[in-house]
Amino acid sequence: MNNAVVFFKGFKQGFRNFSHLITDIVNFVLLFIVYFTGIGIVSIISKLFGKHFMDLKSSGSSWVVRKLKKRPIEEYYRLF
């Protein structure tokens, strides 16, 4: 009986490890696809048109003027 319990505990742990491995592999594959298609295509096309998404190289002031004040309360319900 004891041997059976030990076996099932080990089997359960092993299966859990296996499912984590599968999850990791699936995540990797999915995110690989998203990165190289979703991000990659947009990035390549943007670079062809000279668009940049981050200010890495420009000289001059770094200030971005905001004048951010209180907004109507409905705007705070948004995630942006």
Binding site: T23, V34, V42
Partner: protein, 54 residues
């Protein structure tokens, strides 16, 4: 209620429209599809590395 069902999709759409960030559209579509798959797959959040800033 402002954050009823599908608030995320609604806000993503509003964000793209208002800020004219249409470049987000292909990524958003892909992420939503993948997101559904990942959430269904119940993957756990990865612990941040010491340099995780994101």
């Amino acid at each position: 209620m402002a954050q009823s069902r599908f608030y995320l999709l609604r806000d993503i759409w509003s964000f793209m429209k208002e800020r004219k960030k249409w470049w987000l559209l292909p990524i958003a579509i892909m992420l939503i599809l993948v997101g559904i798959l990942i959430v269904i797959g119940q993957s756990s959040s990865l612990s941040p590395f010491i340099y995780a800033l994101f």
